[in-house]
Amino acid sequence: MKPITANFRTKAAETLEDQQIQQSIEHVYTGFFKGRLNAAADTNNWEELRTKGKAIKDHTIANLDYYLSQLADNVEKNGGNVFFADDAEEARQHIIDIAHKRNIKTVIKSKSMVSEEMGLAEAMNKEGFETIETDLGEYIIQLANETPYHLIAPAVHKSRSDVAKLLDDNFSDSEPIPDATELTMMAREKLRGVFARADMSVTGANFAVAESGSIALVTNEGNGRMSTTVPRVHVAVMGLEKIVPSIQDLSTMLRILIRSATGQRISTYVTMVNGKRTVDEEEGPEEFHLVIMNNGRLKLLEDEHSREALNCIRCGACLNACPVYRKVGGHAYGWVYPGPIGAIVSPVLTGLKDANNLPNASSLCGACHDACPVKINIPRMLLELRYRTAEGSTDPQERTSSAKERGVWKAWRMGMMGRSRFDLGARLVATALRPFTRKGWLKKAPPPISGWTSTRDFPAVASKSLRSRLSNRLRRVK
């Protein structure tokens, strides 16, 4: 998927105006956000689990080379194939090559954000393989020819009538809108047929276990199970950070992932596979491939300020907690990962130059940090990225603040350095703004601060400052 992070402002403004989407994305708050709070309250050692989850991820990422090597050895020992891809294109091409070599006709895809990075479904369809998303949300998104809106609820912005039109070409607005159950059953019918004829699957991996070469998949719908059962070829794709060292770590990680994602104690299905089917099984793939992708992640790893972002287990809790995401929606962020985690990952993975608006799309309220099951300090990283766009980056392409902006701040700093300078500055600003003030309000400020009043009004600057009024009064009292 090509990043379009530079469009943040226009896309966000569009979403803010769209009443239907504003109503639909309420669910991330009423459903997921509250669900997570309830699940955390219901778990008596919740904070302990978060601490443990963070320790597991910190340790794994700090020894990533060791665990990647161990994982690859064990997948091969179990009879699977491992492919290391430097970027999305290499990964995509490898999967297409497998499909050609094995004479594949129909590919079923489970939800995987890494495959979104590759734009895999689209590419495979173009290549002539019938490639169908099987997660209901992703299926809806594929029919709409859009990208996912949320890490775990890709179609959260779609209304029932949107879905009805996508599932049934003949659906007209005059008909009563089917309820969610009817729509789900329509999709079930369509996708059952696809499962029956699929000969290859592509899934993600919620976790890959280094010591055993297993992968764990978490789904509610059962498409993850179908994908690891029905087709003769199974390809799992993962970012290089999705590792845990030991099988026992899954106990902690599954608990915090699922509770943080949907508020459930457990998802309907957790599936663990160690590769292809064993010799005495009736079904299961005859071939297993694991594709481990970098695609910019080493840039996160090598920088101590951003390394922590690799702890992310893609639960979406920071999106649900974010007051900005809940208004501007998932598409504004312009790449695979929206919300607070996207605002720190996209700038590093796709370039800070175009994504320079993302770190600013935050009130720094810290709700994402509180919500994160592995305690990623997202606000700290947002500040670091803001610093780089302002003046901290050695790469001139990344330093996107204008000379004018820097000049304004330099003047501001000088003005703040002494009492008399400050008083003089305050008087000058008050005088300069007076011609723009109407009936006690400043509604349209002149450049260079016109942006501040484009969406909000300021109360007029008082004719006398608090300080001068106080000192006058004190003099009178004396």
Partner: protein, 247 residues
């Protein structure tokens, strides 16, 4: 193609090192329990499951019910058989597929199902399946009305049934048919996921880790349309948990 060694050495470099350091002496994570501790953990999990079986059966029943299992308490084998026959009748099942779990023989499930007029088959094979037999097995599972299995374990914390696919327990028997019935015996319920993964790790250390594992917690569901939870998308629409009492 990215060469594996090259790829991993780039990771090492990004970590600011020149060579891989073996972290196995670092005890920061649960993964590095000694083999002895792991064995003890697994043994404790098993003995606790037996010792507290009555209490754990009650707990799993409660947790299962809240996530959408239809829970049935059977006082004896005969009772379990008639519960299963009742479900098959209600579903007007014509074809039933079952696993080779011993408990299903004990409750004479074949007789119970046949009495309703349905046809029942056991999944199993001799280890010589080719792709055509596999296609046949898949087609059968997709056209079956009810799938019946035992459980390998259950988890009280979450209301979960654990199955390890193998000969006699196909992957699809609990997935493809619109109705799944799982029969649980006393002593099979573990307290939490911790106990399950302790046992899995012990199996791994002993070289006995099974090829795959499914944790099943209620009927297949989705909330992808307007956040409304709907039961039954790709897996079973209805799941029953039959809990056998102690005799």
């Amino acid at each position: 193609m990215a060469d594996r060694d090259q790829f991993i050495s780039k990771v090492t470099e990004a970590l600011g090192r020149t060579s891989i350091i073996d972290p196995s002496l670092d005890h920061a994570t649960a993964g590095f329990d000694s083999a002895e501790t792991i064995r003890t953990n697994a043994q404790t999990a098993i003995s606790d499951a037996r010792e507290y079986s009555t209490q754990l059966a009650d707990e799993v029943a409660l947790a299962a019910e809240t996530i959408g299992w239809k829970v049935h308490r059977a006082s004896n084998a005969e009772d379990a058989g008639s519960i299963i026959a009742g479900i098959c009748e209600e579903k007007s099942a014509k074809s039933v597929l079952r696993s080779s779990h011993k408990v299903l023989d004990d409750i004479v499930v074949d007789k119970a199902v046949t009495s309703t007029g349905a046809n029942i088959e056991t999944t199993a094979h001799d280890g010589k399946y080719g792709q055509s037999e596999i296609e046949e097995s898949k087609a059968k599972a997709f056209s079956t009305d009810v799938g019946i299995t035992g459980v390998d374990y259950a988890i009280a914390e979450t209301g979960t049934v654990v199955l390890h696919p193998r000969s006699g327990l196909s992957r699809l028997v609990s997935l493809a048919p619109p109705t799944h019935i799982a029969v649980l015996c006393p002593g099979e319920v573990l307290a939490s996921m911790d106990e399950l993964f302790a046992m899995e790790r012990n199996d791994f250390i002993n070289g006995e880790l099974s090829g795959s594992m499914n944790l099943i917690s209620g009927p297949s569901k989705t909330a992808d349309i307007e956040g409304t939870t709907v039961t039954g998308i790709h897996g079973p629409l209805e799941v029953h948990l039959v809990i056998l009492g102690e005799e």
